[in-house]
C-alpha cells in the first residue's frame, strides 16, 4: 500500500502497510521514526524516493492535501489547540473533513455536533468536552490528540508514540482504546513506540529502523527471530 525508498535522514527505509493492518515502527532514538512519519504526512518534503497511498503518488502533496486523501496523524509531543475547548478541538478536524470550514455565518455550535460528540465518546472524553484543552492532564491531551486525528475519518491513522509520558494506568487504557478503535472503525494503523510490550500487544507486523534504514519488516515472530534486530535493539532477549 505504501513504499519508501532512499531518504536523507531517513535513508533506505522501506515500509509497506496493508489495508486494515496494524503496523509498528520501532528503532532506537534518532533512528528516523518521526522523520519517516513527517515524510508520509507531508510535514517534510522528501528529497528522493516515493510515497504511494492507494496506488497514488502523494510524495509531492502539501500536508492538507495528504490529509484529505485519508491519512491522519497524532504527534509525539502534544500538538493540540490549547485555547479551544475539547469539543472545538475535535470539531475543527470534523469541519475540515466535511468541507464546512469556510462557512461564514452559520454558528459552528450547531454544525457537526453529532459526529464530534461520537468521536469524543469513543475515546472517552465526552464528559470533558467543555474544558479548555490546555488545562487537561497530559494523558487526556494525548487522547485528545487521537480524537483530533479521528475527526478526518482517516483510513490510515498514524500514531507517533501514542503513550509517551503517560502513567502505567493511562498507558493500559490507551492500548485498549487503540485496539478498540482499530476494530470499530476498521482503521489501518501505523504507529511507533518505545515500549516493546505495547508494540507486541498491538501490532500485527513490525518494521525495525536504525540510522534511517529499514533492518527488517515482518511478522512478530520474524522480527523476534532476526539476529540483527536482537543485537541492535532487543538486546539480550
Amino acid at each position: 500500500m505504501k513504499s519508501f525508498e532512499d531518504f536523507m535522514a531517513v535513508n533506505g527505509a522501506n515500509l509497506t502497510v496493508g489495508k486494515g493492518e496494524i503496523v509498528a515502527v520501532i528503532g532506537p532514538n534518532g533512528a528516523g521514526k518521526t522523520t519517516l512519519f513527517n515524510l508520509i504526512t507531508g510535514a517534510l518534503k522528501r528529497d528522493r524516493g516515493k510515497i504511494v497511498f492507494k496506488n497514488e503518488d502523494i510524495s509531492q502533496l502539501p500536508p492538507y492535501e495528504i490529509c484529505k486523501k485519508g491519512i491522519s496523524r497524532s504527534y509525539q509531543i502534544v500538538n493540540i489547540f490549547p485555547r479551544l475547548t475539547v469539543f472545538e478541538n475535535a470539531q475543527v478536524a470534523v469541519l475540515s473533513h466535511q468541507r464546512m470550514s469556510s462557512s461564514l455565518f452559520r454558528p459552528a455550535q450547531s454544525i457537526a455536533v453529532k459526529e464530534t460528540r461520537s468521536i469524543l465518546e469513543s475515546v472517552g472524553l465526552l464528559e470533558k468536552e467543555k474544558s479548555i484543552a490546555g488545562s487537561l492532564s497530559h494523558g487526556d491531551q494525548k487522547i485528545l490528540e487521537i480524537a483530533v486525528a479521528l475527526g478526518n475519518e482517516p483510513e490510515l491513522l498514524i500514531l507517533d508514540e501514542p503513550t509517551a509520558g503517560m502513567s502505567p494506568e493511562e498507558t493500559l487504557a490507551a492500548i485498549e482504546l487503540i485496539k478498540r478503535l482499530a476494530q470499530m472503525r476498521g482503521l489501518t494503523i501505523l504507529f511507533c513506540e518505545h515500549d516493546m510490550d505495547i508494540v507486541f500487544s498491538i501490532a500485527q507486523s513490525i518494521m525495525v529502523m536504525s540510522h534511517g534504514q529499514t533492518i527488517i519488516q515482518g511478522s512478530l515472530q520474524e522480527v523476534r527471530g532476526n539476529k540483527e534486530v536482537q543485537e541492535a535493539y532487543l538486546g539480550g532477549e
Partner: protein, 319 residues
C-alpha cells in the same frame, strides 16, 4: 441556534447598554456626542484588527492602511466623481478589502514577525503614494469638506448612523467568529501546523481572515469620513497602526469586546489628558506596561478569566 443567545442575561445587559447609548445624545453636550462617535469608529477599527491579531494570530502590523484606504476611497468618490453617494459608501469597504487581498496575498507567504515586517513595507508604500500624490489625494493636506447626504448633516444624525452601523458590524463579526470559519481561524492561531495536518489550507484561511478584517477596517474608514468630513494621510501612517495594536493588547486580544474597551481608553486619554499635555502617550505607555505585567490577557481578558476557569491555566500551558 442564536435563539438561546437572545434569552441570555448577557444579551439583556448589552441591549441595555446600546439603548442608553441611543438616548444619550438627548442629554449630553455636543462635544461628548462627538467623542462617543469617535470612540465607536475607533472601536470598530480595533475590533476589525483583533479579528486577525487576537483570533487569527497574525502579526497584522499595518492595519491603519486599510482604514485609510477605506476613508480615502469614499472621500475621493464623494468629491471627484458624480456617482450616487451610497456607491461611495460601499466603495470604501470594498477598496479596503481588495487592498487587504493584495497585501495579504504576499504576507501570508511569511510567518510571524516577517509577516509583520512585509506588511509594514507594503503598507508604507501606499502611505507614500497618498502622501505624495498632491493632485489626486491632497497629499499631507488631506481632503476636507467632503459633502454628505442631507440625512447625515447634523452631528446627532451622524452619531446614530455610526452607532447603527457599529451594531450591525459587531453582530456580523460575532457571527463570523462563532462560525466554522471563525473557529478554524482560532485553531490556526493556536496551532497552524496541526491545522495543516487536519486538512486545512492555512494560508487560504489566513488570507480570508485578512480580507474580512480589512473590509471592516474599510467600514470604520467610511464612518470616520461621516464623522469628520475629512481624511488625512496620517490615517495610513504606521504610528496609527501601532496605536490600534495597543488598543487590542490593552483591552484583551483573546476576548470579543476587549478592543472596544482599549479604543475607549485610548480615545479618552487622547482627548482629556491630551488637552493638558502633549505627552499623553506617556500615560498610555505606563498603562500598557502595567497591563503587560499584571493583566497579560488585557483588561477584558482578566475579567473573563474570573468567569471562565481553566482559561488562564490553558494560556500558561499553551506557551
Amino acid at each position: 441556534m442564536y435563539k438561546n443567545i437572545v434569552y441570555s442575561k448577557w444579551f439583556v445587559v448589552v441591549a441595555a447598554i446600546f439603548i442608553v447609548l441611543f438616548i444619550l445624545p438627548l442629554f449630553v453636550p455636543r462635544f461628548f456626542v462627538y467623542i462617543l462617535a469617535l470612540i465607536y469608529v475607533t472601536s470598530l477599527l480595533a475590533m476589525s484588527l483583533n479579528m486577525v491579531v487576537g483570533h487569527g494570530g497574525l502579526f497584522q502590523f499595518h492595519h491603519g492602511v486599510f482604514y485609510g484606504v477605506g476613508a480615502y476611497a469614499v472621500a475621493l468618490m464623494l468629491t471627484k466623481s458624480s456617482m450616487p453617494m451610497w456607491i461611495g459608501f460601499i466603495a470604501g469597504p470594498i477598496a479596503a478589502a481588495i487592498t487587504g487581498l493584495i497585501i495579504g496575498w504576499f504576507c501570508v507567504r511569511l510567518t510571524r514577525l516577517y509577516f509583520g515586517m512585509l506588511q509594514i513595507s507594503l503598507g508604507s508604500l501606499i502611505w507614500a503614494i497618498v502622501f505624495r500624490w498632491y493632485k489626486f489625494t491632497g497629499g499631507d493636506d488631506g481632503i476636507h469638506g467632503i459633502p454628505m447626504p442631507s440625512l447625515l448633516s447634523s452631528l446627532n444624525n451622524s452619531y446614530y448612523f455610526i452607532l447603527i452601523i457599529l451594531v450591525i458590524c459587531l453582530i456580523l463579526m460575532y457571527m463570523i467568529l462563532r462560525s466554522p470559519f471563525g473557529s478554524t481561524l482560532q485553531a490556526i492561531r493556536d496551532n497552524s501546523q496541526r491545522c495543516e495536518a487536519v486538512g486545512i489550507n492555512v494560508r487560504r484561511y489566513q488570507l480570508g481572515g485578512i480580507v474580512v478584517a480589512t473590509f471592516f477596517a474599510g467600514v470604520a474608514g467610511v464612518l470616520f469620513v461621516v464623522l469628520e468630513r475629512s481624511v488625512f494621510a496620517e490615517m495610513l501612517f504606521w504610528v496609527l497602526s501601532l496605536e490600534i495594536f495597543i488598543m487590542c493588547l490593552l483591552g484583551g486580544w483573546f476576548t470579543f469586546a476587549g478592543p472596544i474597551l482599549g479604543a475607549a481608553i485610548t480615545v479618552a486619554l487622547r482627548t482629556f489628558v491630551g488637552k493638558y499635555t502633549e505627552y499623553w502617550t506617556l500615560i498610555l505607555g505606563i498603562m500598557l506596561i502595567l497591563v503587560i505585567f499584571f493583566l497579560p490577557e488585557g483588561v477584558m481578558g482578566f475579567f473573563q478569566g474570573l468567569f471562565k476557569p481553566g482559561m488562564k491555566e490553558a494560556a500558561e500551558r499553551g506557551k
